[in-house]
Amino acid sequence: MVDATAPGCDSMDVYHCDTWVSRMDQHTVEVVEAANRTLAPLAVRSVPTVGGAQLVHLAVTTPRSQQFGPLARNHERQLRAALGGKPIDAPVVHAHVGLPGGWAALQNARPGARVFVTEHATYLDRVLAEPEARALYDELLHRVDGFFAVGDPIRNVLAAEFPHHADKIQQIPNPISFDTQRAAPVTALQRWLFLGGLIPRKGVAWLIEAFAQCHAKDPQLKLTMVGEGELRAQLTERVAELGLSDSVEFLGAVPPAQALTLMREHDLLVHPSRYETFGMTVVEAVAAGMPVLVTRCGGPEETLAGIEEDAGELIDVEENAESISEGYWRLRERFERGLDLRHAQEVLAGRYGYEAVAEAHYRLWFPASAQGRSEGTECAGALD
């Protein structure tokens, strides 16, 4: 978002409040937080980041299993300490996720500043299950100047939970870069790529089984698993049991730039997630010229609406491997007749490209100067 929107602002500061979790008793929590109030003014400096923005990295010391309400207040306090007790010096503050980021932004914004929040948290149900967090969320929705969900799954949850704020919840997508194209188009769907957490919600166990089924028919297939998570050891063991260690590679977590490079080096993104609020990886894959095999898990069917056949193959969320493997063979058969990835890219660029998403933000942030944007863009604060 910063890369897309910062170039249109005179200046932008990004506060990255990094939750540092440790096992601590209450006394230690207080000692550590007090020490961090001393340390933060010394350790926090801004460094250049994407789009010409300045990035401020702040460690928010946090006890293990802190609930979302206390976590939001913790972020609020520690951000205030890092700011030296002064409010964020920006007329516009845009936070990502309601709790903790949105709450911390709201409580630290200067008087008169306009505060916006974009929600894309996949853990929103857990936030709203906690009474204190739910109350803070309600107040947040009441006080912010604009509130945005990245897709219908999030908007529907919030509208159902807070019907009195339903009209305030608008939609704005995550921006995706369509600038860098792969050197050569995909010619065969042989190099599969998975990008995401190795966790049950991502459907990775079914992916391994489905890959094994497909590999039995076409031994040339390869699968690269990118990401970390609780299932890594189990998946690695299963791959060895299946005799696929030479065909499946686990790369662990990689930086975002490397993930995009990997997309340009593989033939097919397989995204068998059980639930996604947006499905950014899917759009990034199409932007990288890569067909996708993706589940209808909330976000992706919305982001790919109208171009499903051009971009790849959508499959239902089913608790089996066959839905994935059968989806692969259907896609492979269609691929030989030709997809229309270029058309898919054009459509997605119009929806989620930097320019489209940036303009949507500018209209919200600077309504008075939306026509020419000649004034009011001098300082926009973002909280990530």
Partner: protein, 182 residues
């Protein structure tokens, strides 16, 4: 460029491993101070990264070395001299019993508190001393929550020193300017 990572609770191991490797690859001399080495037993630090504990650094202070010589080295030498032939097994048992029951207790209950009372800044000085031969510590990277209070103590002890190190929460949020400024 000399960089000290303070990673006492080991809750952000991946970040510490990656950032220390990055610092070494940029030509820095890197030391990582951990709480307990056993907690990092499976961790693969990049070649060139020195891993130690605060206790090990503090033990380099002269009074602590004297204490160690009196409490441990001298009795061990005596046990070696006396424990020859048939007395070897008995001498070993006596030494083991002495170290566990007398030396260890004296160390924990008397010498460590006394040492910290008499030389409260010894730990900070010993940490810093590691880097002095090569021009001093340039950057302190505070890497996890439990390291924050210790970092504040170290910085407090170093306050007034002409070349206090810069401090940051992560190499990526400081390195470009610090590396280029040296």
């Amino acid at each position: 460029m000399q960089v000290l990572f303070l990673a006492l609770d080991g809750s952000r191991k991946r970040a510490v491993l990656e950032e220390s490797a990055e610092a070494v690859s940029n030509g820095a001399r890197v030391m990582v101070v951990v709480g307990k080495k056993q907690a990092w037993a499976g961790a693969q630090f990049a070649p060139g990264v020195v891993v130690t504990t605060l206790a090990a650094l503090e033990a380099r202070h002269l009074p602590r070395r004297v204490e160690h010589a009196v409490l441990y080295r001298a009795p061990r030498a005596t046990a070696r001299a006396v424990g020859r032939g048939p007395l070897r097994g008995g001498a070993r048992r006596v030494l083991k019993s002495y170290e566990r029951g007398v030396a260890g207790r004296l160390h924990r209950k008397v010498f460590v508190p006394l040492h910290r009372r008499l030389w409260p800044d010894a730990r900070a000085r010993m940490v810093r001393a590691v880097f002095e031969a090569h021009g001093g510590l340039d950057l302190l990277v505070v890497s996890d929550a439990l390291s924050v209070p210790r970092a504040v103590q170290l910085l407090g002890a170093w306050a007034g020193n002409e070349a206090a190190p810069r401090v940051c929460y992560g190499l990526d949020y400081d390195a470009p300017r610090t590396l280029s400024s040296r």
